[in-house]
Amino acid sequence: MAELRAVEDGLLLVLDADEVSLLDTLAASVLTRVSTGSWDPHDAILARFAPPASRGDEEVARELRGMLVDELMEMRRGRLTALREDLATWSIESGPGIERRLSRQEAEHLIEVINDLRLALGASVGVESIEREELDPEDPRAATLGLMDHLGWMQGRLIEFVET
């Protein structure tokens, strides 16, 4: 289970090997998705990464999507690639309990890429149409949402660190 605590020169993040592996696997999956080279509005994850810039003015929405979609996908590719490269370093340097000291800037980067992973997880199960209180724990979507929540806990602690 992840631990985060403030240390003299930043934040100490301690992850299980499973968590590192999971972050890497998730990042790889989403990276594949945003590296297809074409933006598909019917792909829920890609649609979530480049949402409409207008809800009623189709011309504005279309124009801005044309301007922004490549940049938004490239931004995600950059973050996810950086995360995977960084995680590879963590794995090499450490044992089962992996410690990583984070500067404020590194924590900010991690917050952003965790958000991308959470958005992808949510989009993959159509989170906006799920009544979570009514979701059967055995429903396979519950595991995905549980993972989204776990990453949210980690993200919240990181935000607490950079905002104080």
Partner: protein, 126 residues
Amino acid sequence: VSASVAWLVAAAAERMDLWFASASAAPAAPVLDPLIDDPLLVPDDEVREDLPWLVIVWDDPVNLMVYVVMVLRRVFGFGREKAERLMLQVHNEGRAIVASEAREQAELHVAQLHGYGLLATMERQD
């Protein structure tokens, strides 16, 4: 988080293909549908080009409230109190107008908000 991470990892590993395979077939999220009757919009013949554009942030079920506050502070330079007030408006009312400005500036802000993963739109001010 009630479930253990080990369980989540195991469940995630089993479902890795399902996650993103199912996403392709997922219907378009209702939250992304255009709101035809949005009261902020006006018919084209009433549009005045000199009027500013509104930047609107919409509620969504994934972004943490503290994350929205952080993003609003970064993008617009708001103080914590103002950012928290706007975030609560988004959370409670479904959306909040976070800026009223020239079109180019509104485009820049919407792009930045999308980069952070917020649902943001821009509309001509009535």
